[in-house]
């Protein structure tokens, strides 16, 4: 019950990085960090049994595994999304994506960590609810053609090609509208962005 990430330390084995190009990242880890070698698996499909944001996932990635001392390094280059990796790359850019723990009882550890996280999230619930409403209102105020693209791409996780098909427009127009919509939203939210960044 009182499980924390600290209790999981003995089971820690891997740090995972989302990268743009796995061969460039491999070279960097070898040259700078002294990882002796990498084992690469190309076009690994996350299909059957995987889901992404409530939908069946159909994602492909190149994965590369190496060792920095005792720690396994996993490099992940997304080939096709959407997936947790494309989402991470879009939100944060390339970088440290996860720590992996090989625990004896997966279900018990998940439940314990969920319980540990619950207290922290309860504290700021009202604040978060107000912030969420502010964002939804700002999205609501965008021109419709932009709003639709933003919702499909960013919130529903539909990819560019699929969104273009859905709206009967060129993929490039989807990209332009998405960028414009995000810029407009960013400007609307700007006064509140600083505080939520800190």
């Amino acid at each position: 019950m009182s499980e924390t990430l600290g209790d999981l330390a003995p089971y820690f084995f891997q740090t995972g990085y989302v990268v743009r190009e796995v061969d460039v990242a491999e070279e960097w880890f070898q040259r700078v960090m002294g990882v002796p070698s990498f084992f690469r698996m190309e076009n690994v499909a996350f299909g059957e049994g995987c889901s992404y944001r409530g939908r069946p996932a159909d994602a492909v990635a190149h994965l590369s595994i190496g060792y920095l001392g005792e720690t396994q390094i996993e490099l992940i280059e997304s080939v096709r999304g959407p997936s947790i990796y494309t989402e991470f790359l879009e939100r944060k850019g390339p970088g440290l994506h996860h720590l992996a723990f090989a625990v004896p009882d997966f279900g018990a550890s998940v439940a314990a960590l969920r319980e540990a996280g619950r207290g922290a999230s309860r504290l700021s619930k009202a604040k978060r609810r107000a912030a969420a409403k502010r964002v939804r209102d700002a999205i609501e105020s965008l021109p419709e053609a932009h709003r639709v693209v933003l919702i499909l791409r960013d919130i529903e996780g539909v990819d560019t090609a699929e969104t273009a098909k859905l709206l009967s427009v060129k993929p490039n127009l989807v990209k332009v509208r998405l960028h414009r919509a995000r810029q407009a939203l960013r400007n609307l939210l700007e006064p509140h962005l600083r505080e939520s960044l800190s």
């Binding site: 960013d154 700007e190 939520s196």
Partner: protein, 81 residues
Amino acid sequence: VTCQELVEFLAAYLETDLGPAEAEEFERHMAMCEDCRNYVETYQKTVALEREAFEDPSATVPSGVPEDLITAILAARKQQG
């Protein structure tokens, strides 16, 4: 790369639509320009906030498609002719 170009091609950069040489130029500019770093940071934060805004903190599953979305999609289609 100028600041204006960076802002214009930011989405392409984040979606890795740019070639490696262009991406590198982007990163060089960002390393030198605090304004652009701030812009990129707030842009990415905006995208993150969008998602959070539709995740009900009390629900275990994400809330569904906004009801007016289907109508809006149809309207957007019609607009294209």
